[in-house]
């Protein structure tokens, strides 16, 4: 495949995934034939504007889509199994045990009526069948593992008694407690203040280095991507428009959208107005024909409105979905 990452095997292979939203105004084809791979043992970044379908991708992998959203077609292959064909009961065994997820609002992710102990021990008992005593020991270990200073105290706390950063650490503890292979992190640091963001990033990095935990980092923060990821996929209006190693992407952005994203970052020492990409994310109830980016694209020509571009190889492990990417380079 054109989009495979050199030197690795994909842990998750998504083919032709269609997740549609059945709204009263019509069907929004948010993901309409998504192809995507997450390389094993790496941290892959998934970047894009709000509403580009990043979270929908993660929720689809977890099969957490709720009405009006529904997975219509496609294949999500994980360790040789198509997740979309599992029964709900089999899927429950995958969630939390093989694939975990952490969310944007750490405190809102923890049930306010349960202590950390209630939440964490339950998950350990569901997946590992541990006795209460063993589960408690495992819980203390994993809380220490995510860098919580006083695990025995934290264990008996309610979410409202913990800071946002501590809550996110608890969520990460929950996510890795049962030996997950893949962590889906949906904007894990967006709601945290900068110093805490940094600590959480350090923790995720450690997890990659020490246990080889595969991660999908969903974010719109390119700084975070540069810090943490080795692979990046850029998403626009439900399609991956460019995927590359992190250096290749920053050195040689080949899609006009990627380039626009990189240029709209504030640079230290730079003065004047920030550059932005003109226009806004298209209405997915009526997406633009051809290349979905063409109405906002500086390179757009008549061909772009007619013909949807296919992935073209830029370099090793680097591909782009644009008719005129060569004009940019």
């Amino acid at each position: 495949m054109s989009d495979s990452v050199p030197g690795t095997t994909p842990l998750i292979t998504i083919r032709g995934l269609q997740t549609h939203f059945f709204t009263q105004r019509g069907v929004a084809k948010v993901l309409d034939g998504l192809n995507f791979e997450i390389a094993s043992g790496r941290v892959t970044g998934l970047v894009g504007e709000s509403g580009s379908g990043k979270s929908v991708t993660a929720f689809s992998i977890m099969r957490l889509m709720r009405a009006p959203g529904r997975i219509v077609a496609g294949k999500i292959e994980f360790q040789g199994v198509n997740l979309l064909q599992l029964t709900e009961r089999e899927m429950a065994k995958v969630r939390g045990e093989k694939i975990s997820m952490i969310f944007q609002q750490p405190r809102a992710s923890l049930n306010p009526v349960f202590t950390v102990k209630d939440t964490l021990l339950r998950v350990l008992r569901i997946h590992k069948g541990l006795s209460a005593r063993k589960a408690q020991r495992a819980a203390l270990e994993v809380l220490a593992r995510v860098g919580l200073p006083d695990p025995a105290v934290v264990l008996n706390r309610y979410p409202h008694q913990l800071s946002g950063g501590m809550c996110q650490r608890v969520m990460i503890a929950l996510a890795i407690s049962c030996g997950s292979k893949l962590l889906l992190a949906d904007e894990p640091t967006t709601a945290l203040d900068v110093t805490v963001q940094f600590q959480i990033i350090e923790l995720l990095k450690e997890l990659e280095d020490e246990t080889g935990l595969t991660q999908l980092l969903i974010t719109h923060d390119l700084g975070l991507v540069a810090e943490l990821c080795s692979e990046v996929a850029v998403m626009y209006a439900g399609e991956i428009v460019e995927q590359a190693g992190v250096h290749a992407l920053f050195d040689q952005p080949s899609h006009p959208y990627t380039r626009g994203l990189l240029q709209s970052r504030p640079k230290p020492g730079a003065r004047g107005e920030l550059q932005s990409i003109p226009g806004r994310v298209p209405d997915l109830l009526a997406p633009p024909s051809g290349c979905r980016f063409h109405p906002r694209c500086p390179l757009a020509q008549s061909r772009c409105a007619e013909e949807s571009p296919v992935p073209e190889i830029v370099g090793e492990g680097h591909w782009v979905r644009c008719h005129f990417w060569r004009d940019l380079v």
């Binding site: 009405a67 969630r95 939390g96 952490i102 969310f103 009526v113 998950v123 569901i126």
Partner: protein, 295 residues
């Protein structure tokens, strides 16, 4: 220096109040609610200690002292067969409170279960449940209770069933809406994402978080239940003689008001009013206390 310091310490004390004492604090600021609580507490005590408080046997009759006005021996007077109305009112509190709490408890359990399931599994299953619930709601509550009590026959147990049925839709709707909003919360997503089975997410995660409105509704509901119970007994479809029940007692005396024996109906009627009012005051007050928009 001392004065600004003491001023500054007050808010700290306020902030440190435990949630239990905060409840009492709010209650003190809501004297009406407190009054309602006291009224209901007194009624419950009255029901519990009826055998100790009642001067006479509530079932005893004595034709020689029939229809005597209130006096020192018979505080609220006597009825048609010479029964002591005060004693019967005390015992009547047992009947009416038991019916009210029983009916509300049954309605709460059934209504919450139906609403929770209907809210969690939207789509055909949930819709089907709510259509059945709405069928119950299509009738005025009293008419529905009347029909059910009429069909089942007059008895203490059937009265509870009839009143419970009329209360089920309220709880089902409240619970469904609560679950609908809570299940889209991130902690519900996170609970599923960490592998909890759906029944567990519903009953252990969502249900406890959805009980707030149910709690307030449950303080209002016994008042209405007493009203319905008394109404049904009044027209002969509830508790039957010789059981002491307030509605029934009002009915017994209703034909006597015109001939001047007002006390037979008045005193049980007063207690119905007091009980209904007590429950309503609690419910209204709690609504204010738990309202996040209050000052």
């Amino acid at each position: 220096m001392a004065e600004p310091l003491t001023e500054g310490t007050t808010p700290v004390q306020v902030a440190n109040r435990a949630s239990g004492s905060e409840f009492w604090y709010l209650l003190r600021k809501n004297p009406v609610t407190l009054f309602g609580l006291i009224v209901v507490a007194l009624l419950i005590l009255m029901a519990l200690f009826a055998p100790l408080l009642a001067p006479y046997d509530p079932y005893a009759t004595d034709p020689r002292i029939s229809l005597q006005p209130p006096s020192q021996e018979h505080l609220f007077g006597t009825g048609i067969w010479g029964e002591d109305i005060f004693s019967r009112i005390l015992y009547g509190a047992r009947q009416d409170l038991a019916i009210a709490f029983g009916a509300v408890a049954v309605a709460l359990v059934i209504g919450c279960l139906l609403g929770a399931v209907a809210g969690y599994w939207e789509g055909f299953f949930g819709e089907a449940i709510m259509r059945v619930v709405e069928l119950l709601q299509a009738f005025p509550a009293f008419i529905l209770a009347l029909a059910i009590a009429g069909a089942l026959g007059p008895s203490f147990r059937n009265l509870i069933i009839a009143i419970a049925f009329t209360n089920v839709p309220i709880y089902a709707h409240l619970m469904r809406v609560s679950i609908l909003s809570n299940k889209r919360s991130q902690y519900a997503m996170a609970a599923i994402a960490s592998g909890n089975p759906h029944w567990r997410v519903l009953f252990r995660h969502l249900l406890p978080n959805s009980l707030g409105p149910i709690f307030i509704q449950s303080t209002l509901q016994p008042g209405y239940a007493i009203l319905t119970a008394a109404g049904l007994s009044f027209i002969g479809l509830g508790v039957r003689l010789p059981e002491p029940e307030w509605g029934l007692m009002v009915a017994m005396g209703s034909s006597r008001i015109i001939s001047g024996e007002w006390w037979v109906s008045l005193f049980p009627g007063l207690f119905i009013i007091i009980a209904v009012m007590g429950f309503n005051l609690i419910g209204d007050g709690l609504q204010d206390i738990f309202d996040p928009h209050r000052n």
